[in-house]
Symmetry: C2
Subunit: 339 residues, 2 copies
C-alpha cells in the first residue's frame, strides 16, 4: 500500500516545490520596443555616458557596473556631488527577467526604470528631461544615432528609455554552474552545492525564490512578486536596521504594503555583496542566516549555511564580452556647465 502511494507523494512534493529553472538565452522583447543592433548600440552608449548626469560624473554604469556583477559593491550608491542614495543598487545583469523594477517595484518596465535615475536629484541630478534632450542635441553623433533608430527628432525621454532598455535586455549572464547542471551536465556542480540546492527547497526559500531568475514563477511583465521582509521578529532586524525602510508602502501608501519588497534575484548573488535593500550585511553567509531567521524562523547550523552559500555561488553566470562604446563628442566645446 505504501509503495502504491509513493509515486503519488512524489507528485505532490514536486508540485509543491516551486521550480528553479535555467536562464533563457534571450529575454522577452516588448512589441512596442523591438530590438535592433543600432538601438542596442545607442542604448549601450547612453548607458556609459556620464554626460547624462548634471555634472558629468555619473553614468548608469557608475552604480550598475557591468564590468562587475552589475552593481557597485557598496551598501548604498553615490550620485552626483557625493550624495548617498537610500538603497543598495540592484544588479543590472538579468534585470530583463524581473517583471517590475527597483527594490519597491515602482517601475513596470525597464523602459520606465531606465529614465528614473537621470532626473533623480541624488542620483544623476539632471533638473529635467528638457535639459537632457538639449544636451544630447548638442552632440552631433547622438542626433545621428537617435534619428537613425527612431526617425527625425528622435531624441526624447521615451526613446532614451527604449534604447537603454534594449541594451539592458542583452545583459544576460546564463551558463552558470547551476544552468549547466539543469541542462544535463550533472558534474557541473559539487556535492556540497547539490546539498545546498536541496536545502533551499526543503526549508522553503524557493517558495519565493523560484523561476528562471529566482524571483518568482510565471510572472507577467508589470506584475511583481512582492513579499514582506522581515516577517519574524529577531535580533538581526535591529542590528542591520532592516525594517526602517517601509519599501513598497512608500509607493502605494497602502498599509498592507509596509515592508513589502520585490523578491530579489539570486543570480550573481555571490558577486553582488553587500546584501539587502540597505546593503547593511557584508557577507553572503550572514545574509543567509538573516533570511532563514527573518522569513522562516529558522536558526541554521554552520554546515547548512555553508551548503546554501556554496549553492548560491553556483548561480554566478558567464558574462558576455562587451565592446566599449565610443561616446560621440561635442566638437570644440563641452556640453557640461563650467563650475
Amino acid at each position: 500500500m505504501i509503495r502504491k502511494l509513493f509515486p503519488f507523494s512524489i507528485f505532490i512534493m514536486a508540485f509543491n516545490v516551486k521550480a528553479m529553472l535555467p536562464l533563457p538565452s534571450k529575454a522577452e522583447i516588448p512589441k512596442d520596443n523591438l530590438q535592433s543592433v543600432e538601438k542596442i548600440n545607442l542604448g549601450k552608449t547612453l548607458y556609459f555616458d556620464p554626460r547624462l548626469s548634471k555634472n558629468g560624473t555619473v553614468s548608469c554604469n557608475t552604480c550598475h557596473n557591468v564590468m562587475l556583477g552589475g552593481d557597485d559593491q557598496r551598501s548604498v550608491s553615490v550620485g552626483v556631488e557625493g550624495q548617498k542614495g537610500g538603497r543598495s543598487a540592484p544588479t543590472v545583469w538579468n534585470s530583463a527577467f524581473h517583471t517590475v523594477q527597483f527594490w519597491d517595484g515602482r517601475a513596470k518596465s525597464l523602459e520606465e526604470q531606465a529614465v528614473g535615475p537621470i532626473t533623480n536629484p541624488i542620483e544623476m541630478g539632471m533638473s529635467d528631461f528638457d535639459l537632457v534632450i538639449k544636451r544630447l542635441s548638442q552632440i552631433p553623433g547622438y542626433v545621428l544615432m537617435f534619428d537613425n533608430v527612431f526617425g527625425k527628432n528622435g531624441i526624447s525621454k521615451e526613446n532614451i528609455g527604449k534604447a537603454i532598455a534594449s541594451f539592458e535586455r542583452t545583459l544576460i549572464s546564463g551558463n552558470s554552474e547551476f544552468d549547466k547542471y539543469m541542462h544535463g551536465n550533472k558534474k557541473a556542480i559539487s556535492a556540497q552545492k547539490i546539498r545546498g540546492m536541496k536545502l533551499v527547497q526543503e526549508i522553503g526559500c524557493t517558495a519565493c525564490h523560484s523561476g528562471v531568475n529566482f524571483n518568482g514563477e510565471n510572472l507577467k511583465m508589470g506584475e511583481g512578486n512582492f513579499q514582506k521582509f522581515p516577517v519574524v521578529e529577531n535580533d538581526f532586524i535591529k542590528k542591520y536596521n532592516l525594517s526602517a525602510d517601509l519599501g513598497r508602502f512608500n509607493v502605494t501608501k497602502n498599509e498592507d504594503d509596509k515592508n513589502m519588497w520585490r523578491v530579489p534575484t539570486w543570480r550573481n548573488i555571490a558577486i553582488t555583496a553587500p546584501y539587502f535593500h540597505n546593503g547593511a550585511v557584508r557577507t553572503l553567509d550572514e545574509a543567509v542566516r538573516v533570511m532563514a531567521k527573518s522569513q522562516l524562523d529558522m536558526n541554521l547550523k554552520d554546515d547548512q549555511v555553508k551548503d546554501i552559500v556554496a549553492f548560491l555561488e553556483s548561480l554566478t553566470g558567464t558574462f558576455p564580452r562587451i565592446n566599449m562604446p565610443r561616446l560621440p563628442e561635442s566638437t570644440s566645446t563641452t556640453v557640461l556647465d563650467l563650475e
Copy 2:
C-alpha cells in the same frame, strides 16, 4: 640673384619652423617595463576598477575617460566624496608621447604618474598603498593576474604602476586627418585646415607645439618642455583666472618656475574642452584667442581663429576598439567598507 638665394631662404625657414610630425603607431617602451598581453590586460582591468578608490566610486577612467577624448569634459575633475580637484584632467590618449606627466610635469614617467591619484585624498582617496595592496589581495582574480605577470606576491605599488602604464601605452589615437595628410594623402584635409596649419607655423605656435604630440620636439623621457603661461599681460588673464596657479613652481619652489607648465598636446584638442590648466575656457576658438594674445601678443582676426580651429580639429584621432575588461570579483563579500 634673388632666385639663386631663394632655395637657401627656404632651407632657413624650414630649419626655423619646428616640425609637426605624424603620430607613430607605437610608443617607446621602457626597458624596465616591457609589455605583454597579460600585463596590458591587467593594467586595463586596474584602470577601470573603482575599487582602487577609497569608497569604490572613482577609477582612473572616471576622470580620464577613454570612451571620450581621454578626459571628463569638466573644468576640474571630481574625486571621492564629491571633492573637486584643482586642475583639469589631461587626456590619457597619447600620454605615452609626453616625456613628463601631469600639468606641472612632476612625474617623470607614466609608471610614476599612474600611482599618484590613487592615494591623493581628493582624487581616489586611498589612505596608503598598504590598503590598496590589502584590498587587491582579497580578490582572487587579481592575485592570479599579478602573480602571472610579475611573479609570486606580485601585488605592489610599483607593479600597479607598471601595469597601468603598459595599458596606457596602447592608448594611441593616430590616423587623424593630419596624420593621413602627412603620410601623403593630400586630400585628407580641407583647404581651410591647410590655411590653419600654415598659420600656426607662421605666427609661432609651433615654436612650442611641435613634434609627434605637438608638445615639443626630440624630447627624452623624463625631460619636460616647460613654458611660461601666460607671458603677455592681457584681459583674458583676469577673466579666466589664468595666473593664480603657479604651476611648476609648486613642485620645485624655484622662482624661475612660476607659471611654468608642461606644453600640452594638441592631439584630440577639439574633443577635450574645456581648456587650460583650470578648464576655465569653454570653447576652442576662445582658447586660440587666449593663447595668441597671452603668448604671442597677437589679436587674431575671426577668420584666422576659424582656420586655426579647423586645423586643430584635424588632429582628432581614430580610436582603437577596446574590449571591456571583466573586473575580478570578491566572492560572497565586498572589499569595500560599509558606510
